[in-house]
Amino acid sequence: MKNTFPVRFRLPQALCTLALSSLLLGAAQAQGTVKIGAITSLTGRFAEFGKQQMAGFKVAVDEINRKGGINGQKVELQVEDNASDVNKGLAAAEKLVNAGVGLVICEYSSSLVKAQAQYLARQKVPALVTTSSGDDITNPGSDYIFRLNQPATEYARVLFNIFRDNKFKTVAMFTGTGAFEKSVADAARGFAKQYGITIVEDQSYDKGLTDFRPVLNRIKAKNPDALFMVSYAEDSVALMRQAREVGVKPKLFAGGAAGFALPDFIKDGGSASENVLVATAWIKELRYPGTQKLNVDLIKALGGSDPSYHAAQAYAGVLVAADAIRRAGSSDREKVKAALNTTNLQTAFGPIVFKDFEGFKNQNPIAMVAEQVQSGKFVPVYPKTASPLKIKFER
């Protein structure tokens, strides 16, 4: 019962509050709010993603409350800042656990989320991951960790599906050495084997390297059907510039998300970014119910700028959380966990169910989208649900 009580309290005050709460409970439930915990990066180097998430949160909370909230009670998000730091993120999680929320929506960076989700699982508080994609968050995962966005594996899958569909025989890989890049590269090697595509070159680079030319020369000599890259923002532009400069000409350049999917990739890369194929989690062209409206709402919440998929995922996260609490009948953590297990929602981000498969636990099996830079703009090219345009090949 204390979980539904809408006041945050600390341990010393807990007993006192508990006694009071039994007196006030009836009144509190009738007029009070349902609190949902959320952690995001309001400050620090991930603040840009935090801004996107906050917009998604706002649109979702407004939408739910306009439709009458949860069983007549208004939804309220208690958002804590992780300051883009692992330890501050853990402190934020602890604060939310003590505040008695029924579940916690987690944020962007895999390294932060992994630590938080494990902490929350130990406290037996459901963690709902909306944006971070490191495979190891839900693989092997825990009973208390749920993820609605695509894991790193999917970034490789969608691009290799396109390679397979176009009968590519050879691919060269050039990837960074960060946790996310490695995760995607490992998955890519698996798909290559599965689809019978030969990896003619498999090279990686350390952060801080700025001269990719020697490797690109090698790749040029092998003349592969596709060049598969996974890099963060800064490297993606430098990599494509140098690839054009060296004269590498595969049928397709493919970027496994991260840096390639950002608007800055086109802005800074200019003509070098043309025809590059990118895996991404969500775009406004998808044909899910409400996708267009969500895009309009998010633009409004962002003060006119375009939303990224992080915003759409945060939006879906609040919807899933509210749905689970509604079906659980309260913010009791065990009941919320059980309700999350039977989630079956159609959202503007995509369909959401939590399943166990291929070593993943409580993972939403949703596919990625592929987009391509055509005439200086991202356009969807895969799958069918994204109203795809034709893929343009380099040769």
């Binding site: 180097r45 840009e48 050495t177 090279q203 990686s204 680079y205 350390d206 801080g208 390297l209 700025t210 001269d211 030319r213 020697p214 490797v215 020369n217 090698r218 040029k220 000599a221 923002a233 800064e234 532009v237 430098a238 510039r241 140098q242 054009r244 400069e245 060296v246 004269g247 802005k267 800074d268 890369g269 200019g270 003509s271 070098a272």
Partner: protein, 294 residues
């Protein structure tokens, strides 16, 4: 030509041009050491400052990075001059021992100042010639990379003219050989040292500007280049200018060939292995002379 020979030549050409940029960075560091016996640990951070000056001028005034050299180089010179006059000169007799911490601290202030002003996210500029190339007997060469290489040649040529054809250059050489003797002959060594530090910093800033169309700028980009500059100058012999040039070219070529023939994953290791070998076999550097200090 068959593709493999072609790729070898292409790798060599790119390594040579990349090495040219290393040489430019190393020359500035070596010049400062040669005259003042100070290793400038903020050298890479001055390079970052150069990148951000060009970035700022491009974003705010759409000034072409190569034109912004006309503003950035004097700015860099002024900055270095002031640093020597108001920071390093005050260390007095303890210059050689304390300058390490002073320049290291200066580097931290510079990179964090950039962080404050421009944010941590990497930024690049999009100029029309960023990916332009031309062919030379089948070898594709990047235009901005070639400009950087030619810029290095020009800068080093001018530096030589200055050192060997001007009165002030002679004073610089005299100060490098024997500060006390130069002082006794009427050379204002404090002023000469400030000019030299200004020149060294200007070289780093110019290198930064030349790199911007090729790369991207972020506040801590300098760390990597401080290390490279150090390797380059030690390879050639600290304080030896032709040595720094050859050292830069060698490093560029070794890194490129290593990454091409062996594996890219150990790229930095190739240069450092050669660096270690030189330290073991010729501790004074490839072209250095053992100097007896009085």
């Amino acid at each position: 030509m068959d593709p493999n020979t072609l790729a070898l030549f292409q790798t060599l050409a790119q390594g040579l041009l990349t090495g040219g940029i290393y040489a430019l960075i190393g020359t500035g560091l070596s010049l400062i050491f040669g005259v003042m016996r100070v290793i400038n640990f903020a050298h890479g951070d001055f390079l970052a400052v150069g990148m951000f000056i060009a970035l700022f001028l491009f974003q705010r005034f759409h000034l072409d990075p190569y034109l912004s050299l006309l503003i950035a180089a004097p700015l860099g010179f002024g900055l270095g001059y002031l640093v020597q006059r108001f920071l390093l000169a005050r260390l007095g007799d303890r210059l050689e021992s304390s300058s390490l911490l002073a320049t290291l601290g200066l580097g931290l202030i510079l990179s964090n100042g950039l962080l404050l002003g421009f944010g941590a996210q990497p930024q690049s500029i999009n100029v029309a010639y960023a990916t332009q190339t031309f062919k030379l007997g089948g070898v594709q060469i990047s235009l901005p990379l070639l400009v950087a290489g030619l810029g290095t040649l020009l800068a080093i040529g001018l530096l030589n003219l200055f050192l060997y054809r001007t009165e002030l250059g002679r004073a610089v050489r005299a100060t490098a050989q024997n500060p006390l003797g130069a002082e006794l002959q009427g050379v204002n060594t404090t002023w000469v040292q400030a000019v030299v530090f200004g020149l060294g910093v200007a070289f780093a800033v110019v290198a930064g500007v030349l790199l911007l169309p090729l790369l991207y700028a972020f506040p801590t980009v300098g760390e990597n280049y401080t290390l490279k500059a150090f390797v380059v100058t030690v390879l050639g012999g600290l304080g030896n200018l032709p040595g720094a040039i050859v050292g830069g070219l060698i490093l560029g070529i070794i890194e490129s060939l290593g990454a091409y023939y062996l594996s890219n994953n150990y790229r930095d290791a190739y240069g450092l292995v050669v660096f270690l070998a030189v330290l073991l076999l010729r501790p004074e550097g490839l072209f250095g002379r053992t100097v007896k200090r009085v």
